[in-house]
């Protein structure tokens, strides 16, 4: 079945440093989504990428979808303490609408 791998599992940064998490799928994806889960909370949708090579930005967050549509990345510039949480990628392959989540990257930001 479809597998989505995400690295790193943990990332500790000082406030102001950049952060990147990477997502790789075992199969070609029709789209990829990114979610953020705050400690004790539930996953909240951030963005969706659909096109090969697509790049989207949300303020300090930059999302990329690979040319082969099998990998993606999320980059945060100049992290803030409000960025703390777990970032998940979730891929949808040939199964209509079925989302498979990566393991997530837990980000801690030290002030």
């Amino acid at each position: 079945g479809q597998q989505v791998m995400q690295i790193p599992q943990y990332q500790h940064v000082q406030e102001g440093e950049d952060f990147t998490t990477y997502c790789n799928s075992s199969t070609t994806l029709s789209n990829i989504q990114w979610y953020k889960q705050r400690p004790g909370g539930h996953p909240v949708f951030l963005i969706q990428l659909v096109k090969s090579g697509e790049v989207k930005k949300q303020k300090r967050l930059t999302f990329q979808f690979g040319e082969a549509k099998k990998n993606s990345s999320l980059h945060i510039t100049a992290t803030q303490t409000t960025d703390v949480g777990t970032y998940f990628c979730a891929g949808s392959g040939t199964s209509y609408g079925k989302l498979t989540f990566g393991q997530g990257t837990i980000l801690t930001v030290h002030p």
Binding site: Q33, Y35, P43, V50, Y96, G97, F101
Partner: protein, 114 residues
């Protein structure tokens, strides 16, 4: 704000007991997902419904778990009998039913089986 409602928020039970978790998807959404979250396994898809019909429950242990949608406003996940290894946070999520839809998650049910 429209939101996915899950009950109960917390459940502590003893091994062998039946557990029922409920989810009210956002009105108008026609897809419902059940995910289980643990530190070791992350977010695992248990079951997936579209227009109340189960499309995929391959991630669900069939011998003890069952998922249903008796109507469009209610999804249930039952565990019978429960076991300590079932302890986890169970999330329900709903979506509008289009390809590449974003999911709206409920606040989850924190289950502890003693």
């Amino acid at each position: 704000d429209a939101r996915v409602t899950q009950t109960p928020r917390h459940k502590v039970t003893e091994m062998g007991q039946e557990v029922t978790m409920r989810c009210q998807p956002i009105l108008g959404h026609n897809t419902v997902f059940w995910y289980r979250q643990t530190m070791m396994q992350g977010l695992e898809l248990l079951a997936y419904f579209r227009n109340r019909a189960p499309l995929d429950d391959s991630g669900m242990p069939k011998d003890r778990f069952s998922a249903e949608m008796p109507d469009a406003t209610l999804a249930t996940l039952k565990i019978q009998p429960s076991e300590p290894r079932d302890s986890a946070v169970y999330f329900c999520a709903s979506g509008p039913g289009s390809l590449g839809e974003k999911l709206f998650f409920g606040s989850g049910t924190q289950l502890s089986v003693l």
